[in-house]
Subunit: 218 residues, 3 copies
């Protein structure tokens, strides 16, 4: 007999996580669009790209059809509604710059967990699972930055992809233990969130691994 309550509660977690990530990305993308003076629909477009772009590429690569937002219209309605609110109250939201970093880190964490779980449900190997976690978490932002002609920040000097990878590895390790699904998702989420926020406040970067030629070291 299937434990329905378990299934529902697990799906609910994933879905809630996903919406948290979508919300974080929609807010970030709408603010960027406003700065670039895009109009209402342009901001919708960039929000849509930034928040479901990563998951869409993941689904295309894994050949998962239909793409999630094609059959669950909540995504479109949620993105449009939230982006509209952010646009109306733009001058107030803009002041919350610091708060947004927390939200952005939450998005990174949520999307990584979603990506990892998607790849696992398609029986992918560990490296692909980690890659799909990272892709789901960062590609939307990369797409958004490309359309808005920014050099994607996530590729530069910040612990961003790293936080996502640390979380994926942790999730895969937990999978070897018998730990319950709910705890696995939530603790991974918290780990990624913590690594990212610590990196922001401590100014953590990855070390430079490039060897310096002798003459330059003087």
């Amino acid at each position: 007999m299937i434990d329905l309550s378990q299934t529902i509660s697990s799906n609910t977690i994933v879905y809630t996580l996903d919406m948290v990530g979508v919300a974080a990305c929609t807010i970030a993308a709408t603010i960027l669009a406003k700065r670039l003076q895009f109009d209402v629909l342009g901001a919708f477009f960039v929000s849509f790209l930034g928040s479901v772009g990563g998951g869409t590429l993941r689904d295309l690569l894994l050949n998962r059809h239909p793409i999630f937002w094609l059959h669950d219209l909540n995504y479109i309605h949620f993105i449009i509604g939230l982006s509209l609110i952010v646009q109306i109250f733009y001058h107030y939201v803009e002041r919350l710059d610091k708060a947004l970093r927390w939200f952005d880190a939450l998005g990174l964490a949520a999307f990584t967990v979603i990506g990892v779980e998607s790849a696992l449900s398609r029986n992918m190997s560990a490296p692909i699972v980690m890659l799909m976690g990272v892709f789901t978490a960062i590609i939307g932002g990369v797409f958004r930055d490309i359309v808005c002609r920014q050099i994607p920040l996530v590729l530069q000097k910040e612990i961003y992809i790293t936080a996502s990878l640390v979380g994926s590895v942790y999730y895969l390790l937990l999978l070897q233990t018998g730990i319950n699904e709910w705890l696995r998702s939530i603790s991974t989420l918290l780990l990624i969130f913590s690594v990212r926020m610590l990196a922001v406040y401590r100014g953590w970067n990855l070390p430079d691994i490039t060897l310096q030629p002798k003459e330059k070291q003087k």
Copy 2:
């Protein structure tokens, strides 16, 4: 008994619309490529991207295979032939700047209708149908602008996505009536074209919905 004449005529309309859109996008992309001093093949590449990019993404998202230009070689031949002509007569075509706007608006209208009909043929819901209309109409241009390092104009201050959306809504409303297919496509095309051209000549923009904080309104 199937009304063959009806089927053929309806397919012919769609196909003609599609080629009009492809022509408009090829001309616009080739002119941009020449300005950036791309060579002959670079201009072909950008033309191809600009004119079939939107439909290709739509087909990938809807999982429609084979992609339309893989089995109908007319697209490739038409794009290469037209881009070649535009390149040869570039200094003459460039002068037709105003005429190009009309052509561009026709492309927007044609691709929206094509996108809407593609999504309907896959039994998509109304919001997805509207989205696919917009995607088919604008994504090619967005791709083209990204490769050419322009900020995509369609996302900024012009009634462009709006015209496409107005047309999609109108098409979906007509679908509720018993109106004949031919009339539905053509009248939607004319509506989008008119909205776009009126916006160009009257300088229409979407209103700014952002609330201004009190202190700034003085």
Copy 3:
């Protein structure tokens, strides 16, 4: 009875070619990423995009699943390992600028042959086969340049797409003869490589086909 030795040797050629192309693109992408001060993981990401991006788009367009690097993890391991080495010895690799051009040309040649053979294995028509050769060879570099905000060089004034196309046509012609598979792949590879290197050293460009208006010709 199947000639196993033939099958294996042919697959080995294709696989070796592919890895040569991946190596060339990984080195080029890592160097670009280091110049833009991307961190270790950012450089991995750009290397991955630059080296398997073209093949991935080709597989998505041709609906070939699973995407090649999803089931053959050698690609990921090879790219990460090589990119790591290039990053560590960046200041030494950078000096090999001229040598890199040879490597890059080899990548162009290898990826074209792979792309042509992929499309042929899906029974595509000649124009699509040529297009897939070009796409596989150049799209990864175009993606890389887009993320790194460079105008894609391949679209500008250099014999690059041309070399790829010349090779595709030559391959398709050889296919009409009874020539053995091994010779077909290798001679196409050498042809593309030679055309590209000659273009680099002789400064070959495609002729400008644009007609100059009379008044400008004085």
